[in-house]
């Protein structure tokens, strides 16, 4: 009896994932626990291990998006007959490819949208045939789609059933990320042909030139990765929050000295702590003392957390990720350094697991290493605050009535005003400043 391999839920709130690559081919022997495929969720790309041993009999979902729980493969004995099994598996889950539809893009909504657009476009047309043709399916689509969504692995294909377009036109539209349903066809019976897509593409801001560009320039079109899409969506969401910023400048000489002492005392095998690591530890202590800042704003309620899980913003080739150092208030600086080093290296290799990215209660973004003096970070919702850390550098400072050159750093907190008031933010920042200037107070 073959085992159905289902798309796993890697974390809370995960509805779907994209199978990026199969690490095994049909017919390969698979041991239990062996990596089977790479799964891209909106947070992370992770290798999924086989939870059964045997022969990979059938890959049901070769590549692309699928919902959690969809049967993606069958593992069993080498000579096992799986065709019936596959039919059954697909029947049970709904068509695997139907399930592969992006979650944010429900078929009914999509169908209604494109049909509306079509009928609008057709209003001015002298003959009524086309709008009518387009309208007919719009009435049937929402109901039909709810029961059995049409197989459509990509949004572009969602309109296929209703829009007349040549295969070439569809391909060009797909390659250029144009919605074929939004185009007007000039071919026989209103069919969208390649030239129509070329024209639309000419006009589109994002589209590349239809013909070979004669200006010699070229536009690179970058498809959004799953991670990038998430960044775009979440940070756009973040703008909905009413935020305010507060800045403070601290004397960093004690912070630097503490770090230097730690480095001097470093033993074989320990990770050298960075300024950020010390700062993470100090901020964690401050957060423990200011639970109003160590909070999430969820569904109109403030969730204040006893534990302090600090997310650190890490730039990777695939985009920004924010792995989390859990219980940072209970870790030593060296402990934080070790965890941070592991997280950052795995982040850069794209090997973070979903668990590495979950449960953050606060975020620190440090651009000091780029020489940025100070900046404003965008909130990382649902967290209610994020700290932007600038560079430590020698700067003129007034000390006891005289001008001195001191190493200073400027920190700016962005607060969600729905959860935090100015005074709460200010008190937190005051604590951070005093801890930076006297790290021993964090003990």
């Amino acid at each position: 009896m073959a085992t159905e391999i289902k798309l796993p839920r890697l974390g809370q709130g995960m509805e779907a994932g994209t199978i990026v690559r199969w690490l095994k081919s049909e017919g390969d022997e698979v041991a239990k626990g062996e990596p089977l495929f790479e799964l891209d969720t909106d947070k992370v790309t992770q290798e999924v291990e086989a939870d059964a041993a045997g022969v990979l009999l059938k890959i049901v979902v070769p590549e692309g998006e699928a919902s959690v729980g969809t049967t993606v493969a069958l593992i069993g004995a080498a000579d096992e007959e799986v065709s019936e099994f596959v039919a059954g598996a697909q029947g049970g889950n709904g068509d695997a490819r139907a399930a592969a539809r992006p979650v944010e893009d429900p078929p009914a909504e999509n169908a209604a949208l494109s049909a509306d657009e079509q009928s609008e476009a057709g209003d001015g047309a002298p003959k009524g045939t086309r709008p009518q043709e387009q309208k007919a399916p719009s009435a049937a689509a929402p109901g039909a789609a709810a029961v059995e969504p049409p197989a459509a692995p990509s949004p572009v294909r969602a309109g296929c059933e209703r829009v007349k377009a040549s295969p070439l036109a569809r391909r060009i539209a797909r390659e250029r990320g144009l919605d074929i349903a939004a185009l007007t066809g000039t071919g026989p019976e209103g069919r969208i042909i390649a030239e129509d897509v070329e024209h639309a593409s000419d006009g589109a801001v994002s589209g590349p030139p239809a013909a070979a560009p004669d200006d010699g320039g070229s536009i690179e079109i970058v498809e959004l990765t799953s991670v990038r899409r998430t960044i775009a969506r979440r940070l756009t969401e973040a703008w909905a929050a009413p935020v305010f910023q507060l800045s403070v400048t601290a004397d960093a000489s004690a912070l630097s000295a503490t770090r230097e002492h730690m480095v001097e005392l470093l033993r074989e095998g320990e990770t050298k702590p960075t300024v950020s690591d010390v700062l993470t530890r100090l901020v964690a202590s401050a957060l423990q003392r200011h639970p109003a800042v160590n909070a999430l704003f969820v569904d109109g309620k403030i969730h204040r957390y006893g534990r302090v899980n600090v997310g650190i913003a890490v730039a990777t080739a695939n985009g920004l990720v924010v792995p989390v150092i859990r219980a940072a208030d209970r870790e030593s600086v060296l402990g934080i350094a070790a965890i941070r080093a592991d997280l950052v290296s795995r982040a850069r290799e794209g090997k973070l697991k979903l668990a590495d990215l979950e449960d953050g209660t606060f975020t620190i973004s440090n651009l000091g290493m780029y020489g940025i003096e100070q900046f404003i970070a965008v909130l990382n919702p649902p967290q209610v605050a994020i700290l932007a850390v600038g560079s430590i550098a020698d700067r003129p400072a007034a000390v006891d009535g005289s001008l001195e050159i001191r190493p200073t750093l400027t920190m700016t907190i962005t607060c969600d005003h729905r959860a935090i008031d100015g005074s709460e933010g200010a008190e937190f920042l005051q604590t951070v400043k005093s801890l930076v200037e006297s790290p021993a107070l964090a003990l």
Partner: protein
């Protein structure tokens, strides 16, 4: 380069093979003294004698059957079926014997037999002397099928057919026999399975066979005047088919018309359309148009015949449909 008619080009390939190779001989109805009903084999009896230019009784089954026997015994016979309509009478020998021996014997037996035949309308031959049945044979594994459209091609392809170790059904078109064309001084064999691009174009590919190659070229001229750039490709060998050349052409032009004189339904154009849509689906910007005869037994009356059989204008209309706008 010398100029030969299509008829002379066929004769030239035959006489060169007969001259160079004692294993080559011809059989057919009235091919000796009379020189064949289409005068293709005229003069060959004088040069090669009655042992090698052999008249046969009126039995297509016997003609093909004895050809198979001779081929199995090591000869390279070229047999003539006077009209391809009469291939029907030799089907058992062709389909069940010639096509099967090589594989059924595990390769111990080869059948290097060439079956020359001709057909085609345009001269009021009526319903039983002008059919274009090439598609039937493309359906039979074990055969090769050639349909040449120019003097140069017919000479080079016939040579390759004679020297192919498989049975080759070699179609000639009745109305092309007087067609003149330049041919190389020396006979250059044309490999089976290689298409020929007669004319390069950008907007639509016409894949044409036999007489329709010339109609397609004429239609392409007219289309050019309308701003439509037409590529004309002749597969020349229908089996095996040069899919690579045809698909590459359609991927370039994004549109395709198939054209042959045989009836459209179940014609070779259907096979072409299937191959093209599968290999170049994402490159097609219009439905593939098929041009061929209307589905009717060929009428005798010239005006009716002209109505049933595709003309230049039919190819042109199909070309225009592929580039049509609403």
């Amino acid at each position: 380069m010398p100029e030969l008619t299509y008829r002379e080009a066929v004769r030239d390939a035959l006489s060169r093979a007969l001259r160079e190779d004692d294993n080559v001989f011809l059989m057919g109805e009235d091919i000796a003294e009379m020189g064949g009903s289409m005068a293709v084999t005229q003069g060959l009896l004088d040069e090669f004698g009655p042992k090698r230019i052999r008249n046969t009784p009126i039995s297509e089954m016997a003609i093909v059957g004895s050809g198979i026997g001779a081929a199995i015994q090591g000869m390279r016979p070229v047999v003539e079926i006077m009209y391809e309509d009469f291939l029907t009478l030799s089907m058992e020998q062709l389909v069940n014997q010639a096509a099967k021996h090589r594989t059924m014997s595990g390769g111990q037996v080869k059948v290097p037999l060439t079956i020359r035949t001709q057909g085609g309308a345009g001269w009021s031959p009526g319903a039983q002397h002008a059919q274009q049945l090439e598609a039937w044979f493309v359906h039979v594994p074990g055969l090769k099928v050639v349909f040449a459209s120019t003097p140069e091609d017919v000479r080079g392809l016939l040579w390759s057919a004679i020297y192919d170790d498989n049975p080759v059904v070699f179609f000639e078109h009745r109305t092309l026999y007087p067609l003149k064309g330049e041919v190389p001084e020396e006979l250059e064999p044309i490999p089976l399975g290689k298409a020929r691009i007669h004319r390069a174009g950008e907007d639509v590919t016409v894949v044409a066979t036999g007489r329709l190659v010339h109609d397609a070229l004429q239609a392409a001229e007219t289309a050019e005047g309308e701003g439509i750039s037409v590529e004309v490709v002749d597969p020349r060998t229908l089996l095996p088919l040069d899919e690579e050349t045809i698909v590459a052409s359609v991927k370039k032009t994004n549109r395709c018309v198939t054209a042959h004189e045989a009836v459209v339904r179940g014609g070779f154009g259907a096979e072409l359309a299937a191959v093209i849509q599968h290999a170049a689906f994402d490159w097609l910007d219009a439905p593939i148009e098929r041009v061929g005869s209307k589905f009717a037994p060929l009428p005798f009356a010239p005006v009716m015949e002209q109505y049933v059989v595709p003309q230049v204008e039919d190819v042109l209309d199909a070309i225009r449909r592929t580039v049509a706008r609403a």
